[in-house]
């Protein structure tokens, strides 16, 4: 089976920022994403998780499979959106079978 190289961008961010980030993804013209809600974690801003009732301390993950170019753009502009905020972005290589789907 022939496969095509894409990037998998993963964004871990605070719940209230999910909508703005999805808005950015849309604006960049990326064709899809997947969202995992209700995560907990720890980083430079300390422990986070749904320990309060507001959701302000909960984490979520957004996964995006896209081309190398789009991935770089998303990483750059995503990091800008997260300036001064809690959250991380990283990317890795993946192979897909349907090149045109992503």
């Amino acid at each position: 089976m022939e496969t095509f190289k894409k990037k998998r961008v993963e964004i871990i961010l605070e719940q209230p920022m999910v909508r703005p980030m999805l808005h950015l993804i849309e604006k960049l013209g990326v064709t899809g994403y997947t969202m995992l809600p209700h995560l907990s974690g720890k980083g430079h801003t300390g422990e986070r998780g749904e320990t309060d009732l507001s959701g302000a301390l909960a984490n979520a993950m957004i996964i995006v499979i896209t081309s190398q170019d789009q991935a770089h753009r998303l990483m750059e502009q995503g990091l800008k959106l997260l300036t001064d905020r809690t959250g991380i972005i990283y990317m890795s290589d993946v192979e897909v079978a349907r090149d045109q789907h992503f």
Partner: protein, 332 residues
């Protein structure tokens, strides 16, 4: 005086306060007791829809008049103004950063539904009546404080440049949504209007769900609040005694403001107590998300901890009977 103390002790030995204490102690003992997040959100939705509905049914008895309209305006004003006072106190007595101080201030202008609800049940158990439109006042006090918080944060930002996310139009839209159609505002106002419209007929139909189990559900929710407050307290570093002190004296300041307002509005003793509670309590549901969006540099560790782990327990355990005593002394 002896009376106040016996009433306060009576408060301490209600199932509600005891379940709160149980949760608090369990978390301090590092128990793995946990209420699933969906359940606590479900209980919160029940409490908000129900207290709104109950208030609306009460107003359907009393009718809507000028004094009610004035009270609603006053509530908005109180929520809007309190943050300026809180911000001033914070900046004068602590080393807190501008953004964090602004965010904390917004929380104290807003209100805590569960504190209010606990106070209504306390009044009910003492047989003290209160006006139904207090519930509508509560609903309207949820979010004006967010605006004040933003103004305060922006004022800081113009001086030291940045830290505010309001320029991004997408973000502004999100913040406006939080202010006007925040889920808890919608539930409280909506439940209130439904109670008002359907009145006693509505209460007959759904009272077995909306009214009878209310106090028991509140116990379970306070158990969860105890767990949450206690875990937050353990995880937090508030950084300084004056910050912690703010969490204890600011409710008194807010309660005083509430009592003054109650005097202006001519509320009953029960109503005055509840308005004091609204002034005294701090939001931990509606405001934090708005602050995360709009004032990213503000430290959520500080504002969530103060509102949830210091001021909330203080009000539930000590504040409520104290405010009742003050209202009785002033207006009784």
């Amino acid at each position: 005086m002896g009376d106040v103390i016996s009433v306060a002790m009576g408060n301490l030995l209600t199932p509600m306060v005891l379940f709160f204490a149980l949760g608090f102690i369990a978390a301090q003992l590092r128990s793995d007791l946990e209420i699933p997040e969906a359940i606590s959100k479900g209980l919160a939705i029940y409490l908000m829809a129900s207290i709104g509905f109950q208030g609306g049914v009460k107003l359907s008895h009393a009718g809507f008049g000028l004094n009610v309209a004035l009270s609603l305006l006053a509530a908005v004003a109180l929520s809007f103004l309190l943050p300026f006072l809180a911000y001033f106190l914070l900046r004068a007595t602590t080393l807190m950063k501008r953004e964090t101080a602004a965010a904390v201030a917004a929380h104290y202008g807003s209100i805590s539904v569960v504190t209010f609800v606990t106070a209504t049940e306390f009044l009910n158990s003492q047989g003290i009546p209160f006006e139904g439109h207090l519930v509508a006042m509560m609903a309207l006090m949820e979010t004006p404080a967010i605006v004040s918080g933003l103004l305060l944060a922006r004022r800081g930002a113009s001086k030291d440049g940045g830290g505010l996310a309001g320029d991004n139009p997408q973000m502004s839209g999100e913040v406006l949504r939080e202010i006007f159609v925040n889920g808890s505002v919608v539930l409280l106002v909506g439940g209130f209007l439904i109670g008002w419209t359907t009145g006693d007929r509505g209460m007959d139909a759904v009272g077995a769900f909306m009214l009878d189990p209310f106090k028991g559900v509140l116990c379970l929710f306070l158990l969860e609040m105890g767990l949450v407050a206690s875990r937050r307290l353990r995880a937090s570093k508030l950084g300084g005694g004056m910050v912690l002190a703010f969490g204890l004296y600011m409710p008194l300041v807010g309660a005083l403001a509430g009592l003054c307002m109650a005097w202006l509005l001519g509320l009953s003793v029960g109503g005055a107590t509840l308005l004091a509670v609204l002034g005294a309590s701090a939001s931990y549901i509606a405001v934090p998300a708005a602050m995360r969006l709009a004032v990213p540099k503000a430290d959520p560790g500080v504002y969530v901890t103060l509102a949830l782990a210091i001021t909330f327990p203080f009000n539930v355990v000590i504040g409520i009977p104290v405010y009742l005593a003050a209202a009785t002394w002033l207006f009784g």
